[in-house]
Homo-oligomer: 473 residues x 4
Amino acid sequence: MAGIKEECGVFGIYDLDGGNVVPSIYYGLTSLQHRGQESCGLAVSDTKGERGNVKFHKDLGLVSEVLRQDVVRKYEGDIGIGHVRYSTTGASVAENAQPLVLSYVKGTLALAHNGNLVNTPELKWELIQNGAIFHTTTDSEVIAFHIARERVHSKTVEEAVLKTAKKIKGAYGLVVMSPRKLIAVRDPYGLKPLCLGKRGNAYVIASESCALTSVSAEFIRDIEPGEILTITKDGLKSNKELASAAAKRAHCVFEYIYFARLDSTIDGVKVYDARIRGGKSLAKSYPVEADLVTGVPESGLPAAKGYSEASGIPFAFAFYKNSYIGRTFIKPTQEERESSVHLKLSVLESVVKDKRIVLVDDSIVRGTTIANLIHMLKEAGAKEVHVRISSPPFLHPCYFGTDVPSNDQLIAASHSTEEICKMIGADSLGYMQTDYLEGMAGGLPLCKACFDGNYPMEIPDYTNAEFADIVKC
Amino acid sequence: MAGIKEECGVFGIYDLDGGNVVPSIYYGLTSLQHRGQESCGLAVSDTKGERGNVKFHKDLGLVSEVLRQDVVRKYEGDIGIGHVRYSTTGASVAENAQPLVLSYVKGTLALAHNGNLVNTPELKWELIQNGAIFHTTTDSEVIAFHIARERVHSKTVEEAVLKTAKKIKGAYGLVVMSPRKLIAVRDPYGLKPLCLGKRGNAYVIASESCALTSVSAEFIRDIEPGEILTITKDGLKSNKELASAAAKRAHCVFEYIYFARLDSTIDGVKVYDARIRGGKSLAKSYPVEADLVTGVPESGLPAAKGYSEASGIPFAFAFYKNSYIGRTFIKPTQEERESSVHLKLSVLESVVKDKRIVLVDDSIVRGTTIANLIHMLKEAGAKEVHVRISSPPFLHPCYFGTDVPSNDQLIAASHSTEEICKMIGADSLGYMQTDYLEGMAGGLPLCKACFDGNYPMEIPDYTNAEFADIVKC
Amino acid sequence: MAGIKEECGVFGIYDLDGGNVVPSIYYGLTSLQHRGQESCGLAVSDTKGERGNVKFHKDLGLVSEVLRQDVVRKYEGDIGIGHVRYSTTGASVAENAQPLVLSYVKGTLALAHNGNLVNTPELKWELIQNGAIFHTTTDSEVIAFHIARERVHSKTVEEAVLKTAKKIKGAYGLVVMSPRKLIAVRDPYGLKPLCLGKRGNAYVIASESCALTSVSAEFIRDIEPGEILTITKDGLKSNKELASAAAKRAHCVFEYIYFARLDSTIDGVKVYDARIRGGKSLAKSYPVEADLVTGVPESGLPAAKGYSEASGIPFAFAFYKNSYIGRTFIKPTQEERESSVHLKLSVLESVVKDKRIVLVDDSIVRGTTIANLIHMLKEAGAKEVHVRISSPPFLHPCYFGTDVPSNDQLIAASHSTEEICKMIGADSLGYMQTDYLEGMAGGLPLCKACFDGNYPMEIPDYTNAEFADIVKC
Amino acid sequence: MAGIKEECGVFGIYDLDGGNVVPSIYYGLTSLQHRGQESCGLAVSDTKGERGNVKFHKDLGLVSEVLRQDVVRKYEGDIGIGHVRYSTTGASVAENAQPLVLSYVKGTLALAHNGNLVNTPELKWELIQNGAIFHTTTDSEVIAFHIARERVHSKTVEEAVLKTAKKIKGAYGLVVMSPRKLIAVRDPYGLKPLCLGKRGNAYVIASESCALTSVSAEFIRDIEPGEILTITKDGLKSNKELASAAAKRAHCVFEYIYFARLDSTIDGVKVYDARIRGGKSLAKSYPVEADLVTGVPESGLPAAKGYSEASGIPFAFAFYKNSYIGRTFIKPTQEERESSVHLKLSVLESVVKDKRIVLVDDSIVRGTTIANLIHMLKEAGAKEVHVRISSPPFLHPCYFGTDVPSNDQLIAASHSTEEICKMIGADSLGYMQTDYLEGMAGGLPLCKACFDGNYPMEIPDYTNAEFADIVKC
């Protein structure tokens, strides 16, 4: 599943009993690590301490690298937020790590954001007119700036957040922390997930329910699309003004196909069940006579299980995955590659030899990985390899925070399914049909624009010169 | 499988065409990383360079940490060996990292060792009489010392290795490198695995065949128990004097149960097949009516698959494993543990709810882990949990390099199977029977002393005071 | 001289021939390191590259630690600025490192600042009214913000800088970089030093002339108080509107007493000469019969030399200084201190035994260090120790960027000279007289407010509640 | 003084009252850091603990880098030794760091060594015959090996040390630690310094007296050449068998010229006094009319002071030294060098302008550094520069541990004083005369073989092939 990347994951917690929330943030972020491996951070406030006393730590690296024991020990508070960010290559972007922590007329504001806005240039333009300056290139800073500006003419932070939410367009799961409040905000379409849990007298906000489980919090409910939930020492307060005004919902289909963790439940739908259903629908759409069904570890395994259940063809493990190949692994040079295939995945020969195999994965980007795996299976003696993909082909860009490669890197953008089947060396190839996606996701209204081009909202065009400059700043 | 640890893995390579072998050592060690995560290292020689010019690098840490790109780039040679060592806690033991590289009358000697000797005190005594001094507390240094001493009165290194092999008793897979030779040695019982592969004109030695695959080398054959294989620029030369004198073979059963990688083949037996057979025999010995079979990730999964195949009960994934919980993960304190269960493994509720489950693992040490998992399954709604263990209970110490916990930590040492079943909260419990182990391992002669106490060789008793001191030095 | 700390040092360079200026920034900052050891950084722009392409790197640590070879190699440009910041203890303040690099309506702006403003709350208030948010707690960010706001209604960056300079009050030596311009600004009082040099076709700006020397640039002239000097591809352009409006000059006397490097020349006065003159005037004010004159290394040595020259009493080295006691040195605990005096400085017994000694230092803060040294000298056999201090006693706070300890830490705030003499165990004690300071500094108009309380400008009082909050944000 | 390097410094301490000696080792090594900056380490034993329980830590780096607070905190004991080693470039030689800690028949032995043996090949040969193997290429390991071998047939460690001392030839200051004893050994010629101090009931051994001072120990006496001093819980025991057999003493002249710290006293002679005397004798040998005398910082300053005192020409500081140019400083490339002279040293123009200067340094190796300094002085306006060197020209190799460059790097090896004077651009040049060295060193018998070729002992020739191999191993 190389090539498709999630933007981020967010976490927030407020222990009304005053307990230190830092260990919970650490464990929560660890369980959201799959949503972003580039950078991470936390910000905490002690509501009993001096006003405005927000401390934070963030850097490039995994949770276990950035939030080491000696670092974590220095932070303490009863209210806090955290963030994980996805992995890019190249440029040092420690400046873009979150949470953002800012000072303004009303004190301190911390913010962590999952998602992507579509009207950032317009929002920036408004700020820029007043001489705004930016330290980062993130739209998260733009959101924070608008909240700060609105705060001057608002009675409460949550009122400023509401005014801001009315202006920003796009996908967002936000946690905002003032020194004494924790606010959760979800975009009116529900594009990005966000949920609420409780452990004793501590309220927990997280991008996925698995993070609630990791801190032994009970799942209460999803934050509603458009809802602004404010947690203070007096408990919960919900504003749904934006929610009721919302035209429609459009949950990101990719959470169910790939992003979310297998044990999470999002908007009432268990991710595991969705993936099993995806595999089953593939079995119905593209039946084939075969001896075994297998999946590409790890992401293809659940759909493979579903295919097996629906087809009656036995499920099998065909690959061994080396779990020690981490981020610091030295990649083979072109020359060495010849003599170092099979490093990450190797085939279990006794499983595949002389077998007709159904190989399930969740997507095809460039096609090189699946081609390699098919080659390895055939070299190990597989008679046939039938590929089934639990998502439709990518054909359109995502404006909401999913890092889909550009068209020239997408094999489906320029080739038919038949051509791809031949190019990757498969005996047959079947993609999930777009119409089946809602069924997979338990009947939820979806955003599946990356497959069919139907965006849930208008995507403004800022290609004229003036805005081009703003986008760059 | 916490609690049972392998000693080490070794790797050696000689490219007769003169190509640089360092990248292959790196990839080979990465694929042997499961055999030891405490420390690692490599030593290389350039046969065309100045005599005795052996360079090495070793330290505490994973292969990806110790052999970083900037480090690896400094080493080059056409002959080299490598080593991974198992993970202990506490004491800084960088000094014990391997390969050992020593200077002596005949030049330089490098050595990497997997296994454990049983007559180390005697061997040390002989050396000590002549004023020997030791830099490490490893028996590997004792072996190296004997080779060096024998070398003075031998015509070749391999002759010195043979004389040494006649004196040392126990388990060993050794790779020895002189500036122009690579020698592989395996103990006469075949307790530790060692195999030979070839890629072009490069010969490769490795503890497991998966390391051959990782460098695209073709598997040639296992090194025979008692064989001394010497690789020079003129090719292979095998000495089997010790092999023919050997009384019997006794391959370590734990390689098949747990140590070896799923995609390796050892002494003609595919590890995957063995584990499937293990699961099948459990199904025959301990049948039960159930709705699904699952395994504890990752090590319990293959035997669970075997159980499923033999019983006809469907296989399922019941757990999600967080792969970001690495060595630097901050473990919860006792207090935090309450609020941070499910960090490493979480249950897929929709799989297990209202189900009767067969849960397969490869061993029980303290019993706390399996008890936790059973508790989690039941909390998620499982009706019954039947535990099947693909090895017999540990009852005896291993003298050959497997780090079995002491009796007071082994639940089976002081409790009957019925008691254990009750203690861990299972509905039934079945251990693999000792008699079935040979069947699992494809009929190979096995050392299964940790289960039945029948050691393949006499274990000398050095408990008298004099030797106690030697053992310490 | 522990206790008195300089704020910062700045450096800027523009090579009109397009050469890479990064090595020069590295060497320049290294020669300004004495002005700040807490953090440092650089920002560079390639004027031939894409518009707005400013890269930067900054962190806590010395120049040699933050700008390591592997880091520096990644940066290249023909225009750049750098900054060193002073060393505090405790709080992690990587966020406050400079240069500040910001994006705004007109592109990118980088800024490095030495000094301290006195009307920051007012300046913040103006920004805050418009919902400004701050990432740091530095007044440097406030300056940058005003430049950015003014830029919207100005034709050029330098015009925006001028408008800003008219609003800000206090001490500043600034370098401002836009992608194609380098601007140097000095406060109208000339409180902080700033000078201009040239090497080939490269213009260099630096806090001190020693940084020009370090990159083989020729000293051209000091930036005039109130001058705004803009360097573009067309050369130099100077605006002195603010300079001519300036009421008077007031150069910080402490640059001559302690801050500046011995080999620098500031506002036409050689620092070395000033310190020699300081020592000479001490000799005239406080003559004493003695056998030798010595100084506390390193800062007391030049004034000691001056005392020797004026008095005719021979100069001698009485102390050895251990240069390996750096920032990571483990300080002795109270208990260990007993057994670890003399670690940093030790006495040369054969120099001081049976001698009457004049001991010169540049200031007394708490008095504990000088007391220790006197004790050491007497223990080594000195008969008399006469202390001469080349500055008057500190009695007033500095608002312009010098970190003078608070009154309760200043021995002179609560004790007469006679009392201090007794407390430190000296045989006599003489402080430089305030009236002599101008003479020491070659007749320059000085700010010596920390000694006499006469501040060159009005210091606004922001102690009311409203501003207190602003100051905190 | 680049080019001439000391081998090492040693430290040992035994607190008979049982106090933890680790902080003292840390401070002692810090004060010996000038004797070696490549690597360092410590080994400690708790005499009340389990027998043989010696712990150690060593690595490449300065004392403040290797013995960081978190590391040091893990070690504790009432007896310990430490070592600093000199700085080389290139090859990673962590293996050669000391103390050496070894296990042998009688337990554990730790050893730290300053100096160099001249009969190492012979000593190795004897060991090699018995199959000895070496982990390092140091002669220190050879010494340890002989002690271990002798220990088998000796009643005590100190007896084994004596037998070893009778066999080894060359220069050595040794501290040897067994779990309950601390032994100090000095070569019979007294080539390397070693002294004894006391603090309360703690005995301290150090290469130089400055290390005693640093831990507040009182200097007791120098260890006599050939003396073996054993410290046990019962106090001191001295063996002078070797001392009385010694033919003559020959203290290394370079300790007085350059190696030792200015505040140390070695063999009754104060280093400071020696350097002052050196400068004075230069004034007598090479008088000149001049306006001021200065020295190259730091090492040339004391002799410059001596020259000034004897000649009556005033002493002056002519250079400023940047103390932030440490080991990680990025050296300018050839190209950058043009634009980055004066980085480490810069000239104080107002001191030297229009002056006739005597410039004193302690030696000339290649001549490039002094040539640069003379050029800088003249550029700053100096009228004449007369160079005086407080040592004779190097003409012969040192076999005792001083790293004198080879002849092709020594300007004096191939040029007359007149030629050198012209090459470096000096107006006159005078070297200390060899006959004056004893006078400088207070009349002590000296080894000054590097100047006159008269070695105090025969230097064996091992150039035949057989030994060449041994030397390499």
